[in-house]
Amino acid sequence: MDFSVLLTDIPTLLAVVLGVPLVLAAYIVGGEYLVRRLPDKNRPQLRPWLWVGPAIFLVAAILLIPAVFTVIQSFQDNVGTFVGLQNYSTQLADFPSGGAWIAIRNNIVIWLIFYTLFVLAFGLILAVLFDRVQYETMVKSLIFMPMAISSVALGVIWKFMFWYQPAGSPQTGTMNAIVTVLHHDPVAWLQDQWPNGLAVLNNLALIGAATWGITGFSMVILSAALKGIPGELLEAARVDGAGELTVFRRVIFPLMMPTIVVVGTTLVIFALKAFDVVYVMTNGNYSTDVLAFRMYNLLYVSRDPAGASAVAIILLVAVIPVLIFNLRQFRAVEARR
């Protein structure tokens, strides 16, 4: 990597390297100086705001204000005239295959249900099973490893896994190599809109790839929750004559429920945000479009920022209930500690 480019603009470099820490330090020292001058009883009220101020400023500047502008833009056309709900009606036109409907269906039905379910199920099974093996840390690290792969690389890897060659040719894709060993014709995992153009198969193939990447995350958190269950409880259940399955169903599972819900809702949000795997593996073709990718295409390919804003707001509306639920659950779990 050639860093000489950094030296082409010395004033900016100096401003960033020296200026930013300087401003922050001045803010803290100056703010604290002012707070100290206040009467004793007012200090505790003001000090938290002083410290949280920069964060609030950044959230407002980078997240809140742009979000408000996006809402406004979604009610305007591309030159800024108010058009009411027209952008939304374009996106929601021609059910079930027009507008954004395929993306909505993929996101809100297929991705949301199967992605969340797969990741939770695999995470839970792996956490419970690995709890009983000798080399737990090692196998857990192995499962966790895909988390370290960028999702673009992950998409490329899985594209090769799903590689398709027509029947009779040597299959270089792992999945089709397996399928042909089982005397079945090779399957075009990413292109085949099985069944009947409903495109469940290829969407599941994408979800499978995404699941592989994130299972380690849910496994680690669920495993931590599992370790938090007191041994005496399990012991007591077993003494009372409960089999291992009953222990899991009646003791372990209910006790892990709050954690499962928190992980689950986080995964739901991930599912709604799905983008990279789709972008790399199918580019939204063959009925695998998702909302985030549609938004990207509208913005940068169709150059239709108004339409893109409408899609963004649809996505936001879908995420908000989950977000609220997630925060509540998170607080409930915290409170129980």
């Binding site: 050639d2 000489s4 480019v5 030296l7 082409t8 010395i10 100096l14 591309n78 027009g98 590689w163 398709y164 060659q165 027509p166 040719s169 075009a188 990413l190 292109q191 085949d192 809109q193 153009g197 972008y279 580019n283 073709n285 063959y286 990207y296 295409n297 940068y300 390919v301 169709s302 150059r303 239709d304």
Partner: protein, 434 residues
Amino acid sequence: MRETSVKVWSSVGLAVALVAVACGTQTNNSGKIGGTVHVLAVWSGSEQASFQAVLKPFEEQTGIKVLYEATRDQDAILTTRVEAGNAPELASAPSPSLLARFVREGKVVALDQILDMNKLRSDYDKSWIDLGTINGKLYEIFSWTALKGLVWYDPKVWNAKGYKVPKTWDDLIALQNKMKQDGTTPWCIGLESGSASGWPGKDWIEEIVLTQAGPTVYDAWWQGKQKWSSPEIKQAWQTWGQILGPNDSNVFGGKNNILATNFGDAGTPMFANPPKCLMHYQASFITDFFVKAVPTLKAGEDFTFFPIPDVNSQNAGAHVVAGDTFSVFKETPQSRALIAYLATAKAQAIWVKRGGKLSANKEMNLSDYPDDISKSLADALVKTKVAKFDAGDLMPGAMGTNFWKAALAFVSNQNELDSILANLDKIQQTAYTS
């Protein structure tokens, strides 16, 4: 004490200033310009290696380091970069419609002041300069060109089977039927191309529209004045459907293979033993991919081409051409030097010699073409009577990408043609206004 620190700081400041000056200009005694220039283009893999070879003498001569970035998602990446105020100094081949928009927004540098226009006018045919001119100013140059609408085949196999190069469209259809009767699949087609998937299908439709309905319909079509559901355009899709056969049965591997195969790999089964297909339709650049996939292949002996017959003989000699263009997004001494270099026959010859590219530059020696194939390609390029630019590239971004997607949808299920065209009509209504 105080005095010392002032001295220390001022000398530090002086040093920083000197470094800044040194880095800013960096003119050294040898007359080299130095510095860096960013280039964004679509070539990766072997094509990237060829482009790097083109850049090498430039870097050695000028001392300028070219930082090359490759993407197949050219329009989106370039739009993002331009809008973020972080455009590369040079970029190749944004679609003409996107370039026109950048021109309107004042984001592209006019080349009239940068390049020696008299030299350019003597080097290039007027039509190439006109293609790069918007509102009377030149905004892009054509470094390389490709001839589209070519059918590639293995002459050894054809001779053995007694197949003749078809002269008319009917001959072509008769030939593909004969191939099927002989038990071989006629065509190899691959539409996969990352975020540009589907474009080879678009090439088929364009060539058919141009030679079936003629240049007037072709122009009205890309300008958005001809509906997709109009008889002329619909007929072009149906004609392509005739090539693909019912349920894509005329193509090796059927629809799944068409969709899953990368355009660069698509022609390779033609050289298997026994061949899996007998014809591959692609622009002139594909020879590069043939040779990379099967290094023993000899151009002329193992593969050669014929221009696809005109569907309607009235439109004989019409061809779709494409080009690798360059535009300047930021004017610096480095970008000025590079664009001037890329306009020269000397630079273009480097890639021409490596194979896969043609040059429209009149200074180019026919002897620079590495083999008979590229010589006859260059010849065909010159002889083309009606040269039309790639319609999909001329359409606005949303129209163009949905055209590619429509090609994918059509291959997936040919029976849905009407709804595919209705959808394209709907996009046509809005794409041209935004």
